[in-house]
Structure formats: C-alpha cells, structure tokens
Symmetry: C2
Subunit: 259 residues, 2 copies
C-alpha cells in the first residue's frame, strides 16, 4: 500500500513532557468547525489513543504532532545516561517499522518554526478533552484505595471548550500520573467538587457535575489546555517511579486523602 494509506491507520503519538506544545495555551474550538471532518477525526483519534494507552483522560495538546522527532539542535543537557543520549541520536531498532522514522531523518531549521506547517501544528492545540473510567480499570486497583479516592466508573465524555469551576473548597491529595510523563507518579492536591461546562462533539452544550476521582481527572485534563502539567503542581518529594508507588511518603510530606 502507498504510504498515504499506511498513515491513515497510524494513531498519533502521545506528546511527552518537554514538548513546547504541552506548555501552550490551547485555543477555543469555533462552533462552525465542530462538525468538520478534521475536528471529528481529532476526537476519534483522542478516544482511540486514550483507550490504547490505556488511560482515563487525554487532552488535545497531548496528540499535537511532536516537534521532538524532528529537531535536535540546541543545548543537550548533561548525562548520567550517556546510553540514553546515544539512543536519542540513533533511531531505535525496535521502532524501525514506524512511519515516523522517515521524518526523523530531517531536522527542522529554527527559521522553519514560524512556518505555515509548524503553525498548523500549533493550531492543533485546541480545547478538547476526553475522559472515561471503567469498571474494568477500577477493578485493577484495591477496593479500599478506590473508595478513599471516591473513584466510580463513568462513560466516555468528550468535552470541547471546557470551563471548570470548583463547587466547594474541599480538596484531596492523591497520586496521579500523566501519559506525557511515562513511568512516574506524584501526589497532587485537587478540588473534590467541580463543575465543567462546554460543548459535546455535536456542538450541544453540556454540563458535568463531578466529584472525587472524576473531578481530579477533569482538573488534570483542563490543566493541559492551559499548558500545565501535574509536575507543575505536585508535591515534589512524592515524585516517584510507578514501581515505587506504594512506598511510604518521605518524612514531612502531607498525608494522602481528603484534606
């Protein structure tokens, strides 16, 4: 098959921490464009990417076409991890079948960043979030944990131009993660009761009253649209690998749970 056909089957990559698109303010979706093939395709892609991860939420900037594949110019940082550094420059063998490898051969010139093509990418940073939490996902976590988190299943939600308001001052501190920060978690304080208004994928107004875990997911995803990652809000001493998730908190950390 031609490369064009091949590309249609490929889901967008999840943009990883460090990509400037994750720190940009997303723009509103225009009402007239909601019905467009492009927006509907983005929504479908977002749902597929979220489910494939799998994750319980995703924001549009997280599938913005990452510049990282094409730009290796400025200041590299230090080591430790010269091993990693080498991997960065050489294409990874296990990814050899991935069509994006073709793009990896070329570098974007600094001047090109203002170009129409790159601006189109930035234009993709629109305000769309998707989220869902299922009985199955929840079943993987211990009961007492999901109870403390007030975590209950909810069906797929697609929200365009979400506006989030807290409905009380109650907060809770729990660990959360992000598909753009692989392999790590940190404790983040979130409001327990929020209201989100916006449009559904057909342009109809929707309003969600959420509490507990769903409220956390909504805050996390809406933060993405403002260019904020959980690492900007975390209690840094709780930052840890997934493998270390259940280890005790360091001395002096606030306790997990409802505040």
């Amino acid at each position: 098959p031609g490369l064009g056909e091949k590309k249609k089957m490929v889901l967008p990559d999840i943009v990883k921490a460090g990509d400037p698109v994750l720190h940009e303010q997303a723009r509103e979706v225009e009402v007239e464009e909601i019905g467009s093939e492009r927006i509907q395709k983005i929504i479908d892609d977002m749902i597929k990417v979220m489910r494939k991860a799998p994750g319980v939420g995703l924001a549009a900037p997280q599938i913005g076409i990452p510049l990282r594949k094409r730009k290796f110019v400025h200041m590299a940082g230090w080591f430790p991890g010269l091993g990693e550094k080498k991997k960065m420059v050489l294409p990874d063998i296990v990814k050899a079948g991935d069509p994006v490898l073709h793009e990896q051969a070329r570098e974007v010139e600094v001047e090109e960043i203002g170009s129409e093509r790159i601006q189109k990418i930035i234009d993709d940073m629109i305000k769309i979030i998707v989220l869902e939490d299922t009985k199955e996902y929840i079943s993987y976590a211990p009961k007492e944990e999901t109870k403390a988190q007030d975590r209950k299943p909810f069906d797929l939600l697609v929200i365009l131009n979400p506006k989030l308001k807290k409905k009380s001052n109650r907060t809770a501190l729990f660990f959360e993660g992000c598909l753009s920060v692989d392999g790590f978690r940190a404790a983040v304080e979130r409001y327990l009761d929020v209201e989100v208004t916006g449009l559904d994928r057909y342009g109809q107004p929707i309003k969600i009253d959420a509490s507990g875990w769903q409220a956390r997911i909504l805050q996390h995803e809406c933060d993405h649209l403002d260019g904020t990652l959980y690492v900007d809000k975390m209690i840094s001493k709780t930052f840890r690998t997934v493998e270390n998730l259940d280890l005790p908190l360091a001395d002096g950390c606030p306790k997990l749970g409802v505040r």
Copy 2:
C-alpha cells in the same frame, strides 16, 4: 556456585525516585570505620555503579538497598498506565536472572520497618559521594554546549562527609539528570563556584575548589546526602524526557546559561 558467591558479583541497584532512602538525611561516616571492609566495599561499589550507568556522580543513598522490591502495600495511585501497573506486580521477564527476584516474592510487613534489618539499611545512608568526568563522556556532547557549561574532565573523586560552601553568588541554569530519575531532565539553577571539604577514602582531609560543571555535580550529589533530589529544585516547566531535551523551552522559562 552457591548463592553467597553469586551475590558477591552483583552490583547494588540504583535506588529510584520514591524510595524513602532518597529523602533521608545521611549520617556522617565515623573516622574509625573509614578503613573498614564495609565502607571500602561501599566505595568500590559506588564507583562501579557510577561507571556502569554511566554517570558522572553518585551518592551513597542511591545504592541503599531499596525497600521497593519488597513492599507493595498501601495506596496505589491511578494509572494512566494500567500496563505499567501490571508489570509492577508480575516480575519482569527480562530481569529473570537477577538474584533480587528471590526477594521480590516476599512482602515486608509494616511492623518490620522498625526492625534491625531495615534499620541497618537506613544506616547505609552514609555521607559518601563519588564523581568523575572524562574526556570521553564530554566528547559525546557538542563543543559549544560543554563550553557554555564550563565542563572539563576531572579524575575520580571519592569524598566522605563532604561539606559544601558557595564561593561566589554566581549561578548558572542548565539541564541536569539523575540516575534515580531515569529518562528525564530538568533545568536547575546551581552555584558556579563552590568549595567542598571532607575526607578521602583513606581518611585524609581533602578540599576541592570547583567551578562550572564540576561545581554542579558536587551540589547535586551533596543534595542527595540531605535527601534532596533535583526535582525538588527544578524549574518544573522545563521537566522533560531525554528525547525532548533539545526542544525549545516553554514560554516564560528563564534562559539557560550563566545568570
């Protein structure tokens, strides 16, 4: 060969973010114990682990025997990354030859944490750092980068009970990483001129006047002895995967370089 012999050949794992030992204050090495087989073995192990990584620095807490292998009790966080969660519970196939897998079968009881055995582990959090930077490591980085960073090779340094003092108020902002936070980097502001006093591995007083990149490494490693990771000091908006290291900084981030 008996398991005892086997273990002698095994280097300690690097403790990853989230392990409480990384957030503990390390204790001083007693002058009388410096010549002991145990302390000399720790120093030798640290040098080997640093070189194997490879990295340019390592602090003793980073090879403290990690509790993580043996304790999967409390609150797991959320995912996204149910995939990862599953991996956490099942032993990873690729690590099947690793002797620590035997330990993974058992859980540490909460009551056991105060036990002599675990206290011995905490006792290992002693004040030792090792560092070195070589022509070869430096050759992997672009010239203009290492020049901006004032990064020059230096021979292996082993410092017991290091005491760090800044020698000027000059600072620089550059990316750094940590062997306990795999795959990520962030910009951290560090002093450019420091003096470190302490003891060498034979108990003799030493004093190092360091500037530039060596001063950064010394500050990073001494921070470990105080239970501080670079994520506690980083400019969070610069936090990124190694693959994204060379992407532009987000809007509003201070520029890299000497301040």
